[in-house]
Symmetry: C2
Subunit: 193 residues, 2 copies
């Protein structure tokens, strides 16, 4: 990685972290530059369109990390119920550890920007759909029909997304735990084995 790419990556990393924690509107470009140790002029060099363009890259990075974390948690079990409960358990651990939402959920960024930026809304939309697909794929692998798997994937993603928001607000993960328990109830009727 050369110095130029390095500066760009550092800015995206810092932006992703700050946008996810504090929010898009609460985070200024100066703060991102400061945290990323990047030279002052470099922001508009790499991101000529400014904050929105940087946020697009930041959402892309966060989305990739969230996806790979979920895939890793899912891969521990072949059984989709155990696998998805494992994803939720790992999220509970992450939230309990630092009480923050870095690389766990894009809900904040999405809700902050869906009305004001089509570009960022679209990036969040794609990310949500990717997660639904990851759950649906796991369900299909266990023999659940594609249409059922797709619907269940959508519901599972919604349950988890909502439970994350509520758990972080409550500073307690009982909602995530209650959702994990119901995962078994909603998947069982569709299981073939």
């Amino acid at each position: 990685m050369n110095i130029r790419t390095d500066s760009r990556e550092k800015m995206i990393k810092a932006a992703s972290r700050l946008f996810q924690m504090q929010g898009y509107h609460a985070t200024g470009l100066n703060e991102i530059l400061k945290k990323s140790d990047a030279p002052k002029g470099s922001l508009y060099y790499y991101f000529p369109k400014g904050k929105e363009e940087l946020a697009l890259a930041a959402i892309g990075l966060a989305s990739d990390i969230i996806q790979s974390k979920i895939r890793a948690s899912l891969s521990v079990y072949a059984d989709p119920i155990l696998a998805i409960q494992n994803v939720i358990r790992d999220m509970e651990k992450a939230i309990k550890k630092d009480g923050k939402l870095e690389n766990v959920s894009l809900s904040l960024l999405s809700l902050e920007t869906y009305l004001s930026s089509e570009t960022l809304r679209e990036a969040c939309r794609k990310s949500f759909i990717e997660l639904e697909k990851i759950y649906a794929e796991k369900l299909r692998e266990s023999g659940i029909f594609p249409q059922s798997a797709q619907n269940l994937g959508m519901v599972i993603q919604a349950m988890i997304e909502g439970a994350i928001t509520i758990s972080i607000t409550k500073k307690d993960t009982t909602t995530l735990a209650a959702v994990a328990e119901q995962i078994a109830v909603i998947i069982k009727p569709y299981k073939t084995t």
Copy 2:
């Protein structure tokens, strides 16, 4: 209602609307004053602690409206499955109508403030718990055991909250519809009649 109370109410209404739509950080006090037609000096007269105090009142107002909307939708059916599906259908209609989230969800305000304001986090926490209780009460009324009703209330609230965030991001309410369908699946095992 006298003029003084009226100014205060107008400010809270305008703040509630703007905070829910644009977010807490994206909304300035001047914008709230402008939208509420309140005299410039009146903000710190009614809310000496400023933005946070106004936001606390705004969250209280939004929370009351959300609760009464949900109670009204629930009251249409005695059967808890049909009643909760009716709540979701009404939310789908609201989202389809204007593609915005006024008096539908506190997720944005909660995610924006949980790290920076204990006062606002606590207000959002209480509101989330109230909604869980409303669903749980409906389930208990149909004969479901209190402990099961409480857990299901928590899960239903999470599913709906997550589905709202995703639906508004997708500009399509299929996630809410998929959640409505699964409501039947998760409640049925606990139903006594």
